[in-house]
């Protein structure tokens, strides 16, 4: 079993709010420099850069394992992360969302429940993003976290985790993670989780989130 640092919410230049420096080669170099063994690429409503980041990571020594992801804006304007086994799964979800490419971070037409269902139907894990923040979070938009939506995780922002906000979300009984949500290289790894897994793969991460078969996951 290995203990691996993972930052599971990273934007690239495909997100309009991200810095232009967030190009695939720069992202994987920075991840390697910071000792991140796993990163998940989660652009707004698209997975178009996942493959490029994975390719870039394969070309350098100590390049991180790259998990395919997406950050979906639901019709309620809540952000939900999807993590997937393959880039194709993530791209299929992005295709189903069909958000106007001129406004990539705009709301999709999928409700929160439909979004989580869409992620699950493509074999993914659904994580409510930055639940401790007021903007674009499930509690911010909807007042509280609905109990009938089967989230696989709740993400605490890096700033929130540093201020001890994770404890307040433990009562939901949903695995907690923290990630940087970085839009700039300098913020990468400011929030991360420590995975106890056999390998940096999607299936191992899924087990770690569920704390099954000896795997584990903790906010760093």
């Amino acid at each position: 079993m290995k203990r691996l640092a993972a930052d599971m919410h990273i934007h690239t230049v495909l997100s309009p709010c991200a810095s232009r420096e967030m190009e695939p080669p720069a992202i994987v170099r920075e991840a390697a420099r910071r000792g991140l063994a796993v990163i998940a690429v989660c652009d707004h409503n698209t997975a178009g850069n996942v493959r490029a980041v994975a390719d870039a990571a394969a070309m350098i020594p100590d390049g991180p394992a790259v998990i395919a992801g997406i950050e979906i804006t639901t019709v309620e304007e809540a952000h939900v992360l999807g993590w997937f086994r393959t880039p194709e799964d993530a791209c299929a979800v992005a295709g189903a969302l069909n958000v106007d490419t001129a406004l990539p971070s705009a709301a999709s037409r999928f409700t929160l429940s439909e979004t989580v269902d869409l992620i699950h139907r493509h074999g993914g894990l659904a994580v409510a993003a930055h639940v401790d923040r007021r903007s674009f979070s499930v509690p911010g938009q909807l007042g509280f976290i609905p109990t009938d939506v089967p989230f696989d995780g709740l993400e605490i922002s890096a700033a929130g985790a540093a201020r001890g906000k994770a404890a307040g979300f433990a009562a939901h009984g949903i695995p907690l993670v923290s990630s940087s949500d970085c839009h700039f290289l300098e913020d990468m790894g400011t929030g991360f989780i420590v995975l106890e897994v056999f390998a940096p793969t999607f299936d191992e991460i899924a087990k770690a989130l569920g704390m099954v078969e000896g795997r584990g996951c903790a906010i760093a």
Binding site: E76, E77, R134, G140, G143
Partner: protein
């Protein structure tokens, strides 16, 4: 002004005909917001909420905040499950195709008021 008077004066659509909009206390306050965390924190008790948010949580939040009705603006309509829950909880749901801004203006002209000035954060 009673909710029934507001409905008839402004020509609002009643989504919960199972519930009476007549009787009950006069409505004096209102709040307009699509962020339910803001509604929880700031909507005045006994008031009505104007929103385009149609998620099931609107019902729970409105009840928690002690609101007397919810008006969905801009032609937004909730799913049947949401409507049924409101009926079950006795919360009248109304709707209009007008914008939130227009409807808030009309309610203000009828004498309803907001919660007053917010403290700067």
């Amino acid at each position: 002004m009673t909710l029934g008077n507001i409905v008839s004066t402004l020509g609002l659509e009643v989504l919960t005909p199972e519930l009476s909009v007549n009787g009950g206390a006069d409505v004096e306050k209102g709040h307009a917001s699509d962020l339910l965390s803001d509604v929880l924190a700031h909507a005045p008790s006994g008031g009505i909420l104007l929103t385009i948010q149609v998620h099931m949580n609107v019902i729970a939040v409105a009840l928690h905040a002690g609101l007397s009705a919810v008006i969905f603006t801009e032609g937004m309509r909730p799913e049947e499950l949401v409507r049924l829950r409101a009926v079950q909880e006795g919360l009248p749901l109304l709707a209009t195709n007008e914008s939130t801004f227009e409807l808030a203006g009309r309610l203000y002209a009828l004498g309803l008021r907001g919660r007053g000035q917010a403290e700067s954060e």
